[in-house]
Point group: C3
């Protein structure tokens, strides 16, 4: 697997019988540790400051050990320590966000999945190239604000967790809301219900839904809860609210479980398959957990507005199975699936295909 | 059980030890096949075109065999084949929709449940006669559009999956939105939260919540996700949206799990019991899975706006149990409950009461 | 534990080997009985009128016996009978509501938890003293309606289940909506997503998330469904709806499962810990199940708008485990947790710490 570091050497240095699964204490770490423990792995939490107390409330998801760092940027400095402790790091959204993609790529420790995928997901141009190149339909990008002729989503660059988005329905509304001196992109606002679909791709089996000689699985789906957009409508019209200084915002605060109409599932799987195929064309393949963030219109068109090439927090409602993973193996979570894959890679001596 | 075909003969021709549970590959088929397999039945999927690949992603819900037809209307032509393969068909929403009620009634193959119930549910007049006759409160029907004096739901005939509905609050709004030359019905829009309640009625036990000498069970509840009504409010006022050509629509795209306030549950069960009693009065009884689609007002009145006399897709969030079915048997799904009932009918030699 | 009755005597009179868990037939009783039965307790339902039939549909949650009373106020008169039957009563929202806090405090029967906590939760002034004293952030109270300068929630006194609330955004809107001659409180309307967090506090272990020498657990989280506020937005602007006589209302009709962003969980546990600490300072400690009702703003601030010092109906989606309790013990419900605690108290001969 291609990456900025010599992963072949890291793999050969690994003591295969004593791997510790490590991740940063946040995001989906409860589920990752829980799954790792169920599969018999040792676990290590990386915390900023003191080892966090909250795991004490969740004994089956508490990591065996902790490494504490002072600030998130110190993540870059503990790769020696992580290697010494024989760790494989499962990168989730916070890991990548705190390290930054550049530092993540150069991070000299084994990580689960192909880390190039995280470069491609985090750059909006590469992401669009990857997904549209693979035949997925994304919301149209609008290059000139004067071309706004219907609802659009305006995203500020570097905005994360849902901050720094706004909706405008016309050039006038765009001009009323846009901040000066900040970079942004404008895209068509596709109206419909939102489904965040959690997939898993394994190169180790090809007896199921096969793609590129591996199997694609669909493990669950969720909807994000966003503050304040999911409650502001209760206060009456947005027009009136603006007059008292209240604006809609899109900060993710939680998740609810959902399932999709079964007639959409075949297309949802094809979309996952296409994302996988595109990843092999573009950067050697994405493996493990990933998520397509979709909107389903009232014409039952499915549009993808984002890809996450790693475990997403939307899998957190399902630590003990989901309405989809229960058809794969009863009680299976994405966190546990990751640990199973690592075990499988050890048994088959094919870790090079799933670590980078 | 009364139906257009000789079900007694079909039952006597059935090889009871080798029944295959069949259904059309859509709607709630994953759950139906999953439940059938858990109970040890062989399974057969009926697909339009090639056997669909999506089951490969869900090995525990994949049918053992497939029959492929070219187009849905060909369903009518495979009854010989289905009988030859010793099938009992579990009809779900897509089966009935694609065959049409008339053809479904004449379909010469054993189906789970009393197929007359599907005639009564699919005709809005019969449905109202059945439910109101049984004492269930439905939204008032408005026969003359000039009588609109508050929010109403206007439904076009033959509309399915939520397309072809709109809400109007006055005669003027009705006239602004109605399409010419299309048949419609107008009913009171009952404002409140929506609960789709999934029941099961068995004639084989009467040691529980007994109705008509059988047991009524309540297996789960869900809320439908509808595109675009469940997101359009984020864009601001509907009045303004209409000016950019965006109108609310009601196409079902998914489901979320819900539970009801416990103090409503006694009435919810009484409503199910009344629907059953009414079915025995009107057409010899409804058996197996059914669903009441309800609205709960802020006065805690419960109104029924529709009945589905078969498994609904809203049961799909619960393939491994629900907050209600777990009080009946841990991990029980509606799909599995259907398979259990079939097994029970074989053991008791009473298939005539549950098949038609 | 301090209370208006001699609980030490009640405990010494209790036949520890034959305890019956009793509660009123409503609210969260299915879950309480289900959990009690799983832990091997006998169960007794207190019904107003005939024993309700609805339990017959849920055999695993049906109480072994019933006591029937004519009207809720008769609850006060059956304490002798409940003691004779060797009962411990699990108080839920309906128990307290129907008895009234004064009568509940003098009710001469053992109840689970510290009944003083229910005094403190039910009086808005005491509740605020308790929570703000413990460092929890609540919405600001507005003492003079003329000070309204942004969205506020106006609550009528004694309103329960969500009736008797309204939202106003200005002095004018307040005056337009307020009923004459009714007592009310006004508080800041904190805009954000709502999470109802279900905790459990045990004095019997201190090997986990320790607070006051006991363990704090987080068992689940839900969102309330409210009629008609959760649907009224579909009809268009509230301004227009008022012209046809439709006003938003906030009556709880159900619950949906949710999870919180993991980075909020440490603070959520701290908030629970602070509520516990405050309870020990103010009234000898709250034990067992409790709930903080929170809003998460788009700045990821968490505000508490209410505490329930007992099992809440929001735990009902989770009779067989939740995304949080599964990290404590697979399949654990709050109802079962209560029964386990009672068992533990018997084994350790420390019932005085959990009953009052």
């Amino acid at each position: 697997m291609v990456s900025g570091i010599d992963s072949a050497k890291l793999i050969s240095d690994l003591d295969k019988d004593n791997i510790t699964i490590a991740t940063v204490c946040s995001h989906s770490s409860l589920q990752i540790f829980h799954g790792a423990k169920l599969e018999g792995f040792k676990t290590l939490g990386i915390s900023v400051g003191e080892p966090p107390k909250y795991y004490d409330a969740f004994p089956l998801a508490k990591p065996d050990e902790f490494i504490s760092i002072e600030k998130y940027s110190d993540l870059a400095n503990i790769s020696d320590e992580l290697r010494k402790r024989n760790c494989v790091v499962v990168p989730h959204g916070s890991v990548v966000q705190y390290l930054g993609v550049d530092a993540f790529e150069e991070w000299n420790v084994l990580t689960f999945g192909n880390r190039l995928a995280l470069r491609w997901e985090s750059d909006r141009n590469l992401e669009r190239k990857w997904l549209e190149g693979a035949g997925l339909k994304m919301p149209t990008e609008i290059l000139d604000a004067n071309d706004i002729s219907g609802p659009v989503l305006v995203k500020y660059h570097g905005a994360s967790g849902g901050r720094g988005y706004f909706i405008a329905r016309s050039v006038a509304e765009f001009e009323e809301n846009i901040q000066e001196g900040v970079k942004f992109t404008i895209q068509e606002y596709v109206l419909g219900t939102r489904y965040y679909i959690h997939y898993f791709y394994t190169p180790f089996s090809n007896d199921g839904y096969t793609v590129q000689n591996g199997n694609l699985e669909m493990l669950s789906a969720d909807r994000r809860d966003e503050s304040n957009i999911d409650e502001i409508y209760k206060l009456g019209s947005q027009e009136k609210l603006k007059s008292v200084g209240m604006y809609p915002s899109f900060v993710v605060t939680g998740n609810i479980p959902v399932i999709l109409r079964e007639s959409l599932v075949p297309r949802v799987l094809e979309m996952g398959a296409n994302a996988i195929k595109g990843s092999f064309e573009k950067f050697g393949g994405m493996v493990g957990a990933f998520c397509l963030e979709t909107v389903v219109t009232d014409q039952l068109d499915i549009r993808v507005f984002e890809i996450s090439a790693r475990i997403v927090a939307g899998t957190n409602p399902f630590p003990s199975g989901s309405p989809y993973s229960d058809f794969v193996a009863p009680g299976l979570s994405t966190g546990r699936r990751i640990a199973q894959e690592l075990k499988r890679g050890i048994e088959l001596d094919r870790l090079d295909e799933i670590l980078s």
